[in-house]
């Protein structure tokens, strides 16, 4: 099927279509009331993008290992002395390779489904034109990021993704909490962005001088279709500067993917519409971070220290986020913490050297997480609350939703044969195989393992609370009902994917995406269950978690932790999210803002005060000098005589001294 590979050069159509959608909807949306203020147009474009995305993925699958690079020079410098002796060029281009094809598939599929789902879900909201325009731009940015062919372009779209999420999280801007959450999301990820930026500089700088030749700068720092990362080839695998660069990239990824300690923004981002949450959590925003790590790992390479750090961050976050999910009562927040936790797995995988396994988990996770969110959205749409403790018994009126949520939950909990099992199992297996690398891998591996249990527990706690039992705990809730086909189609489609996407790994064409994407770097990944004992333990843990959830929450039960329990402080700590947000707010308000006020004081009173002091001095001097004009001519004569004496002093004493001082004529 060589004919299909021609589509690879047209991959830029995906973001372009969404940009067009953004422009059209953004400009004309308000006048298109009958088309859901442009919603249908956006769906149309998203569909077109989906088609292109699927075609690209198919082409890549059919002729594995294709790298197609199309680029446009953004700006360039002629060769000149300095850091970039052979010139310097920044380009914008598309690089279609197995991993970007994989990501394109994820983004377009989830994006299209979310867009479709929104048509009904958002129907009653105001500002729909803005919503669809921003959503289109969001997808454009994400797809652009996915097919970016260099880090600079990557960063460009990365920032666009950030700003779109900012607007979407703050969609209900009239709610102060939404506006605040949007700002928080932007700011926290901005911290990561700044580190990312420095990482880019470090890579540009290092490889332009000592990497695969100076040509890298002149050619636009493009990701090359190398057989191994730059690092291994150029630096012998290690360099302090590159370690720092890796840490910076990790920082960037941590910001976007909400890894510890930059995780605070993601739960608050639930202020946006649920559809947006689905998109952010599944395919776009947070996926970008992991994708960045994967790309860096594959093309540039991490040093061993970096890898340890990434493993640590990923492993710890996995467990850390899961603990918080255990106690929360907001259905979306529970899912949000699960996202952080799952992202931790992916980061862990990349850190251990299995970037492709991480991406595989990203792939499966995208579907079941989108499914969970859309299902949760369906619930919220039906009864208008997000509080699990008010829900109950929704299984009967909302069968499809309940089933979808259950499928998603099972996938999340890693129960075979659902999608999550295959990918998560590969991660755990992969990390397990690398435990010998460094003794410090052990604790994080164990944390990740423990998180399997917690995951199963909290997601089914949520399911039981919402769907089991006889009826809602809060009788004032409206009568629940299932949404129309527009909402059901995405649920069903995603359910299918949540079941089946993991199994795709056994399809050689699909597996070729993951195998070739590795670029033969590092440890060759092995897909499918390898260590049955390990898989057994993890599945057992998952089942145990579900059982515990059923024991405590099943059938409408509500477990209340005794007030005197030793666990109460822990529960409070978890409910307060380890006080991270409080701490950050304190730094922001008490710390930075106080410094700003103090600086303002200095500006107004010290710097300006000095100037005004001079001014007053001049005025006083002028006033005093004025008094010598007494009007009495004798005084004037006295000035003349005094001046005469002064001239004598100058001529006879001062000036000769000065002249001898400077050395005569």
């Amino acid at each position: 099927m060589a004919g299909l590979s021609g589509i690879l050069e047209w991959a830029f159509l995906v973001p372009l279509l969404m940009v067009i959608s953004f422009v059209v909807v953004g400009l004309a949306g308000t006048r298109l009331k009958r088309l859901e203020y442009g919603g249908w147009i956006a769906v149309l474009f998203a569909g077109a993008a989906l088609v292109v995305g699927v075609l690209v993925a198919a082409a890549e699958m059919l002729s594995p290992g294709q790298y197609v690079n199309v680029q446009y020079t953004w700006f360039q410098l002629p060769p000149a002395a300095g850091t970039f002796p052979n010139g310097f060029r920044l380009v914008a281009g598309t690089l279609v390779d197995p991993i970007s094809a994989l990501m394109l598939l994820v983004v377009t599929v989830v994006g299209f489904l979310v867009m479709l789902y929104s048509i009904e879900y958002m129907h009653h909201d105001r500002g729909l034109a803005r919503y669809y325009a921003e959503l289109s731009l969001f997808l454009a940015a994400m797809t652009g990021l996915v097919i970016a062919n260099n880090l600079f372009e990557f960063f460009l779209f990365w920032e666009l993704v950030g700003v779109c999420s900012y607007f979407l999280i703050g969609f209900y801007y009239e709610k102060p909490s939404a506006a605040s959450a949007a700002k928080e999301a932007f700011l926290v990820t901005r911290v990561g962005d700044v580190m990312f930026l420095l990482g880019i500089f470090l890579y540009f700088y290092t490889y332009a001088l000592a990497g695969p030749g100076n040509g890298w700068a002149a050619s636009g720092f493009v990701f090359t279709n190398g057989n191994q990362p730059f690092l291994a080839g150029a630096m012998g695998g290690n360099s302090t500067l590159l370690t720092v660069a890796g840490i910076m990239i990790l920082g960037g990824a941590a910001g976007k993917s909400a890894q510890f300690p930059l995780h605070v923004w993601l739960p608050d981002a639930m202020e946006g519409p649920t559809t947006v949450s689905a998109l952010i959590h599944a395919a776009t925003m947070v996926a970008a971070g992991v994708y960045l790590l994967a790309v860096t790992s594959l093309f540039l390479g991490f040093t061993a220290t970096d890898q340890l750090l990434i493993v640590a961050i990923g492993g710890f976050t996995t467990f850390f986020a899961a603990t918080m999910a255990v106690v929360h009562s907001d259905i979306k927040r529970v899912i949000a913490y699960s996202t952080i936790s799952q992202l931790g797995y992916m980061v862990l995988a990349v850190g251990a050297g299995f970037a492709m396994v991480g991406l595989f988990h990203l792939f499966t996770h995208a579907f079941f997480k989108a499914l969970l969110f859309l299902a949760a959205g369906s619930v919220i749409h039906a009864i208008g609350t997000q509080d699990l403790f008010k829900m109950g018994g929704l299984r009967k009126p909302m069968r499809i939703t309940a089933a979808a949520f259950a499928i998603g939950g099972l996938a999340l909990a890693g129960i075979p044969p659902f999608a999550g099992f295959w990918s998560k199992d590969d991660i755990l297996g992969g990390v397990y195989s690398q435990l010998g690398t460094h003794p410090l891998y052990w604790p994080f591996f164990l944390l990740a393992f423990a998180a399997v249990f917690l995951t199963a527990y909290y997601i089914f706690r949520a399911w039981f609370l919402a769907f089991s039992g006889d009826g809602p705990r809060d009788p004032t809730l409206p009568h629940a009902h299932e949404g129309s086909w527009v909402m059901q189609v995405p649920l069903i489609g995603l359910s299918a994917l949540a079941v089946g996407s993991g199994l795709l790994i056994f399809w050689p064409n699909f597996q070729s995406l993951l195998l070739n994407g590795a670029g033969a770097a590092g440890i060759p990944p092995v897909f499918g269950p390898t260590d049955l004992a390990l898989s057994g333990i993890s599945v057992t843990l998952g089942v145990a978690g579900i059982l515990l959830a059923w024991r405590l929450w099943g059938n409408g039960r509500v477990y209340v932790l005794p007030e005197s329990s030793w666990a109460q402080p822990v529960r409070r700590l978890l409910l307060n999210r380890y006080y991270f947000k409080v701490g950050y707010d304190w730094i922001g308000q008490r710390g930075v803002y106080s410094v700003a006020r103090a600086a303002d004081f200095v500006d107004q009173f010290v710097i300006d005060g000095t100037v005004h002091g001079f001014e007053r001095m001049f005025a006083a001097l002028s006033e005093r000098l004025r008094r010598i004009q007494s009007g009495v001519v004798s005084d004037y004569a006295a000035y003349v005589v005094a001046g005469l004496i002064a001239v004598f002093v100058l001529l006879l004493l001062v000036a000769p001294y000065l002249v001898t001082l400077v050395g005569g004529a």
């Binding site: 006295a638 005589v641 005094a642 005469l644 004496i645 004598f648 006879l652």
Partner: protein, 162 residues
């Protein structure tokens, strides 16, 4: 020559004394008297310096004309000729200024020989030759000064009858 030096000393002291007296006495008419003595005294010094023409000029212009002019000024501006000036203090600052000026000027003394020098005499003929021929333009300028002074002074003093 002791005699001439003595004469100079006396004349100099008289000049200083009369100058101070002229400024310090409170009776204005007395002032005129003292200043007249001062002018005459200076005229004597010019004779001592063997500049007879200048001595005569000093007598004529200063001791004569200027003194009369000043007396006339007092008569016109005063209702009673023998009125006394209000007492004015010497004033520390003006005194200090005058003294410092004096010291500065006298400080050149160290650069001159303290011994006596020759005094040259000039005949009035030579002087007039120099005055009217070589340096004639000075006199022309003096004429211009007087022209303006006369015209303006007359206009100022004349009672305007517009």
């Amino acid at each position: 020559m002791i005699l001439e030096e003595l004469a100079f000393l006396v004349l100099a002291l008289v000049a200083i004394a009369t100058a101070i007296a002229a400024l310090l006495v409170r009776e204005l008419v007395h002032t005129i008297l003292w200043i007249a003595v001062f002018f005459v005294d200076l005229s004597a010094i010019y004779f001592l310096l063997e500049a007879p023409f200048l001595g005569v000029l000093q007598l004529g212009v200063y001791a004569g004309a200027v003194t009369v002019l000043l007396l006339f000024g007092i008569m016109v501006t005063r209702k009673r000729i023998f009125s006394r000036e209000a007492a004015t203090g010497i004033g520390a600052v003006p005194f200090a200024l005058a003294v410092v000026t004096f010291i500065f000027i006298v400080s050149v003394v160290g650069e001159f020989p303290s011994s006596a020098g020759t005094i040259h005499a000039y005949s009035p003929a030579d002087l007039s030759q120099n005055l009217f021929n070589v340096n004639g333009p000075w006199l022309l300028l003096l004429g211009l000064i007087m022209l303006g002074a006369v015209a303006g002074a007359i206009y100022l003093v004349r009672e305007g009858r517009e």
